[in-house]
Symmetry: C2
Subunit: 192 residues, 2 copies
Amino acid sequence: MQSRLATGRRAPEQRTAPTPPTRPNPPQIILGIDPSLRGTGYGVIRTARPGPEALALGVIRCPAAWQRSRCLARIAAVLREVIAQHQPGACAIEGLFFAQNLQTALLMGEARGASLLAAAEGGLEIYEIAPRKVKQAIVGYGAAGKPAVAKMVQRLLHLTELPAPDAADALALALTLAQEHGRFSLNPLRRV
Amino acid sequence: MQSRLATGRRAPEQRTAPTPPTRPNPPQIILGIDPSLRGTGYGVIRTARPGPEALALGVIRCPAAWQRSRCLARIAAVLREVIAQHQPGACAIEGLFFAQNLQTALLMGEARGASLLAAAEGGLEIYEIAPRKVKQAIVGYGAAGKPAVAKMVQRLLHLTELPAPDAADALALALTLAQEHGRFSLNPLRRV
């Protein structure tokens, strides 16, 4: 209470700060993850002026012959490496998704679990974003296809080559989080 | 064909060896895991004569208020601690399971992912066992209820108290793996 009263007595220019009070420090480096057992996409962006830039992107491939637990260990190992190298402050991961059946959902969940664990142990703030919201933010159309997302990501980040679809989805997640962090929203992202 | 003919000429006592040639070293210490976001059960047994004994059991509780990623980090941390302390060589984890919907399957998958990752990074051989197979092995009835499993686990391991249902399920998984390791099976367990 003392500190709130003290704040109230400060100069008025303090009250017109560009960031809302609930998010005092929007993260500057963001990791996006599109988890999947055999091909987890990841991408790291830095929110900068005049526009965001890509620091890293890739797809963690795990051959079909690998046991599932080996894939999970590989996913976590690569993500830890990326986190150690680029030190992102926040992570965007794909939220509610489409799965053909319970077995598929289970396998996707396992890849998500390994990814979330790596991000949580790296101390990142983790946000879940629905694919539809990402497409809406990047392409302006919630039912956009993967090629449209990849092309728009390439343009936004000035990439010389078209990113692989899974890496593009991860970068799109990171870009969407960057956008959401900087604005007021009636439907804020969910931390997980 | 040559080897089958050769085997036919061997001394008859060779054919009554207790362990089949494909599994020369059945693990002596086994970790069972029944993963769930808010209450992962675990149990460690040692296969000994005259019967198996429990080395550890417990339930990893995560309050409903915790973010999911925090639960996953907690699950992995406790399992790593258990693995470091008891050095199991193999792990049995619940396989095909029942989920009410895709969202539930996803959350269960995440808990499984964190558990599998901890076991894989601990160097354990991981086997997936269907709940039905566990109940069949422990109670003798594939549709047995949780209380029946817990009672039978208590009896088999000479526990002074009835174990919590999730810990009992984990111990039942470990006991089933111990039994499967020591015998020939037409339907062998799947490594994951």
